[in-house]
Every structure is written in structure tokens, then in C-alpha cells.
Symmetry: C2
């Protein structure tokens, strides 16, 4: 599926790498862990970005305009069946003096014994509702 | 898993019933098609609601405050593996003279040969970005 040396034997490993790439603004790692094909990324308050290259470009755009964020992750729920994994994650993101709580549905699929990201759907929790998140 | 007479032999059937319940503001159908346990619903611009009864109450609240909406659905992507199905859906919702485009990740799981909804993650597409949705 992908010509990389990544070894991601569980969806947990793929997710750990996703957040490592996010924290370090690392576009190469981000590019490597997304599957090819019609993958989908929905950034907060945004439309859907479809396709590996367009999704990676959107992350490069985010990385270009931000300092490295501090991100605290809480995995609220995980469901794995066959080659498909759904992770529901709460992100607490601090960057440039701003703070946001973001709910994410992260979806991973296994190809050739490696897990790749195929969807990231993120939405901001309004500050008045942050006491009602999953944490 | 559930003491109902529903026969939902595919995730497509479960999704069709979900939108029938949404369109007709039918809380009984909505209650029947959500799985028990720690299911999760993220309404647009909101936090996460966890648990069957809390999720159903949130839909009852929506139904109480709205007239029956007109909803056009476009299934952009579907992935099924084992007992787990992920549907990515664009909703075009018209109600009370208002119009919104909403991106949804709908997740279904099979229990006892029936498919139930276990997650609905919805986020509004800002009007300036509606040309960039999946449709």
C-alpha cells in the first residue's frame, strides 16, 4: 500500500505517531501515516478534505502557521473489528497562548499488516460546554 | 443486545432508519436504533453526549424545538469490516427557513445479527466552505 519503512502493527501505534507528527509539526511523518486513496480529513469548523495529498497539504498549512502545540490526549473509546479501528479522542490543545478542546473521531485501517489513518474528523467543543466532554 | 423487533441486517438499513427518525422527529425509532452502553453523540458545535439514554434525550430535545426538517443525504464513503461500519455522510438540512450543511461520521456496530448506531459525530460546514465539501 505504501512505500515506507513504517511498522505500525496496531491502531494505537498509528495514533501515537499521528500525535507525534502533530506535536512536532512533522509533515513527513504525517504524510507517511495517512493511507493513499480517498482518505478524509475534517479540521475544526471546516469542510472535508479528500485524498492523501490534499490532506497532507492541509497539515502543512497548519504547521506553517503555528508554533509547535502542546497537546494532551485522552482516548475516550476505541473499537476495533477486523481491519478497521475507530478511536474517539479528546484533544486539549495549547498553542500561542490559546486553548481549545477538540473532539476527534480518528479512523484507521490495516493494509499489508500496517495500520494507516484514513479519517480524522475534528470539532471544537465550545468553552461553555467543556465540562460536558468525555473526560 | 436490545429488546426490539428491529431487523437491521446491514449498516445501510440502520442508517436509513436513523435518517427516517431524524426527518420524522421520531424518538421511539431513534431510541431503538442506538445501541446500549457507552454510545457517543456529538451534535454540531457541542460536546460529547455519552450513553444510550442521554443520547436519546438529546434527540428528544432537538425534536421538541424544531419542525420536521427536510434533509438531503449524500453518502460520501462507507467502510465495513467485521462487525463495524463507518459511514461518512453530508447532510443538507433545511428547517424553519434555515439551511445548513453538516458533515457526519456515523458509526454502526453489529450485535446479534442486527446493526445499531454507536456514534454520530456531526460538524457544520461554514457557508464560505460549502463548495469544498465532499459532494
Amino acid at each position: 500500500m505504501k512505500n515506507t519503512n513504517l511498522k505500525l502493527t496496531t491502531s494505537d501505534e498509528a495514533e501515537a505517531l499521528f500525535y507525534e507528527a502533530f506535536r512536532h509539526c512533522d509533515k513527513d511523518v504525517m504524510a507517511a501515516l495517512w493511507a493513499e486513496g480517498d482518505v478524509v480529513c475534517v479540521h475544526p469548523s471546516s469542510g472535508a478534505i479528500v485524498g492523501h495529498d490534499a490532506v497532507v497539504r492541509s497539515w502543512v498549512h497548519i504547521f506553517t502557521n503555528a508554533t509547535m502545540p502542546d497537546i494532551k490526549i485522552t482516548l475516550a473509546k476505541k473499537i476495533v473489528s477486523g481491519d478497521l479501528a475507530v478511536h474517539l479522542v479528546t484533544e486539549e490543545i495549547s498553542t500561542d497562548g490559546e486553548f481549545a478542546v477538540v473532539l476527534c473521531t480518528n479512523i484507521y485501517q490495516k493494509y499489508d499488516n500496517n495500520w494507516y489513518m484514513i479519517e480524522h474528523h475534528a470539532s471544537v467543543v465550545p468553552s461553555r460546554m467543556q465540562g460536558h466532554t468525555l473526560q
